[in-house]
């Protein structure tokens, strides 16, 4: 037995071809396969959505990584302006009156990942993170365009506002109250993103647009 396999032998609950065998593995997977899944089981702790967009991946990535475009494709994020902190912007989340949202974009051009680190009411701890990735559709679907994935994880703060005192008023609903609607809300926004990118790409237009407020990047 190799050192590696003996180290694995100590790990409880592993299911690998070496200990399960092909048929048992298949049967195990079949047992895990249901015809339907409750919403909570699929979207309860993580909310991942995905969409095909007929727009070249480089353009889709470039559009996504420029934070001011959030004002175009999201339902309710508007009026972003720079804060005193480089890279940190603040805008309004019009989902609720008088609610400020802080946002920093963390992008990786090689992986074409674009992560929006956000929070309501304060910009010191950006705990509400939108993980997005652009994948060349040629690689995964054998056709031109992009596949865009988008994941949110249910940070504990969604269920428990760490700074209730920062809310504009005591009865202002908390962002986490909407968690069960994230699949739907994000789907609406993803469709907006697809519509904008495809419309501009199909019509030979510039995909991006200038920020409403000129800011030194």
């Amino acid at each position: 037995m190799s050192e590696e396999s003996s180290r694995l032998a100590d790990v409880p609950g592993l299911v690998r071809i070496e200990n399960a065998g092909k048929e048992e593995l298949t049967a195990h997977c079949m047992e895990l396969t249901h015809a339907v899944y409750p919403h909570d089981q699929v979207y309860g702790q993580y909310c991942t959505i995905h969409e095909y967009v007929d727009c070249p991946p480089e353009q889709a990535y470039d559009y996504l990584r420029r934070g001011h475009h959030l004002e175009e494709w999201t339902c309710s994020l508007r009026d972003f302006a720079p804060t005193g902190t480089p890279g940190l912007w603040v805008g309004h989340d019009r989902l609720e009156d008088d609610t400020r949202i802080y946002c920093k974009v963390v992008a990786n051009p090689e992986a074409m990942t674009v992560d929006f680190h956000c929070s309501w009411d304060q910009g010191e701890h950006l705990w509400m993170i939108y993980l997005m990735r652009v994948v060349p559709a040629q690689l995964v679907l054998d056709k031109p365009g992009s596949v865009i994935t988008w994941t949110n994880c249910r940070h504990p703060y969604y269920d428990d506002n760490p700074h209730p005192g920062l809310a504009p008023r005591p009865d202002r609903p908390w962002v986490g109250d909407y968690w069960d609607l994230f699949y739907a809300g994000h789907t609406v926004e993803m469709r907006n993103l697809k519509a904008i990118l495809e419309h501009r790409h199909h019509n030979g237009l510039e995909v991006g647009s200038a920020p409403a407020r000129a800011v030194a990047q």
Partner: protein, 339 residues
């Protein structure tokens, strides 16, 4: 349009119950899959005797109908539909032999060789069509399943995990032109794209009738078992949902759902998909195993006898066949109780 009723059902289970150990204690038995729900062995099943034919089983299954409705009435059926697996003869179905045994003289006699595990649904549709469009008044629809005690008890096949799942039995339905226990609607689909994916498997490639030592068993072609699972998961909820839409009810309004019963995984997945509690999705898997085409009528008979299906219940029977080449569901407002 003439209303057609599923007036009564009856069934017959051959022999004494055969315990799981018949398979699990057999020398060389596969045991690595026994703990998986897909292959978990039902505690009991029945096997046909070596000299017991499909016609024998149908004759015995029909007897309670004769007892309840009278020999003259049953002998007078205008339509006889028979589905049998395995066929006793490779060139003709059991229908004419059933007619001879029971003294029937039907104008319409069809040996149905398609629609497999959902053939009771399809035969009910055929019977309904004949009864509404001709002057035929009554029909007998029969499902005989005799593969378990014949194919799956062969010395090599018996070792396989799949062998312990099937069971033999026979279920019959009595269909009449009446509004007493009306068939509300039927939804059926023949899916040619999935035809031929279930085959007779022999290791030496011989034709099933050619001499040789290899033992016949059921196999799948390119469609892996995983594909069949995915199809089955989708097909049965689809046809039941469409049926419910047409009759204007929600799937959750079904009082009793009875399906074919290939394994526990399908049973779980179908009731989950239709949002029905386990007690409203009736099956006889633990006592009889996978009864193939006979599952629906046998389970219905058992459920009526045990009062799990009650007078006035919205009854839905549904299933899919083979590797997915047919799916169907039928709704009945059940008033076929035993007075």
């Amino acid at each position: 349009m003439t209303t057609v009723s599923l007036t009564d059902v009856a069934s017959y289970l051959p022999g004494e119950p055969v315990p799981a150990e018949f398979y699990t204690d057999f020398p060389g038995a596969e045991d690595k899959l026994r703990n998986h729900p897909m292959f978990r062995v039902p505690p009991l099943r029945h096997h046909v005797a070596r000299d017991e034919t499909n016609a024998d089983m149908v004759e015995r299954a029909v007897q309670p109908l004769i007892d309840r409705h009278g020999g003259e009435e049953i002998r007078g059926v205008d339509v006889l539909l028979v589905h049998s697996q395995l066929p006793d003869l490779p060139f003709v179905g059991a229908g004419t032999e059933v007619a001879r045994r029971l003294g029937l003289n039907p104008e319409w006699l069809i040996d149905v060789a398609n629609a497999g595990c959902a053939s009771f649904v399809y035969m009910l549709k055929l019977a309904r069509q004949i009864l509404t469009s001709t002057d035929a008044k009554t029909a007998l629809i029969c499902n005989a399943q005799s593969a378990a005690g014949q194919w799956f008890t062969q010395s090599e096949v018996r070792k396989l995990a799949q062998a312990a799942i099937p069971g033999d039995g026979c279920g019959v339905g009595y269909v009449t032109t009446s509004a007493h226990s009306p068939v509300l609607d039927v939804e059926t689909r023949h899916i040619g794209a999935y035809a031929g994916d279930m085959t007779v498997a022999v290791d030496d490639g011989r034709k099933y009738w050619e001499p040789g030592d290899s033992q016949l068993r059921i196999g799948f072609t390119d469609a892996s078992v995983a594909k069949v699972l995915a199809r089955g998961n989708r097909l049965v909820p689809e046809v039941v949902t469409e049926l419910c839409r047409r009759i204007g009810v929600a799937s959750t309004d079904i009082d009793a759902l009875i399906t074919n019963q290939p394994n526990r995984t399908f049973l779980r997945n179908w009731r989950e998909a239709l949002q029905l509690p386990a007690e409203r999705h009736l099956h006889t898997f633990d006592a009889y195993g996978n009864l193939f085409g006979a599952a629906i009528p046998v389970t219905l008979d058992s459920a009526v006898s045990s009062r799990q299906v009650k007078d006035g219940d919205l009854l839905v029977l549904g299933g899919f066949a083979h590797a997915g080449d047919f799916a169907g569901a039928v709704a009945v407002r059940w008033h076929g109780g035993r007075d």
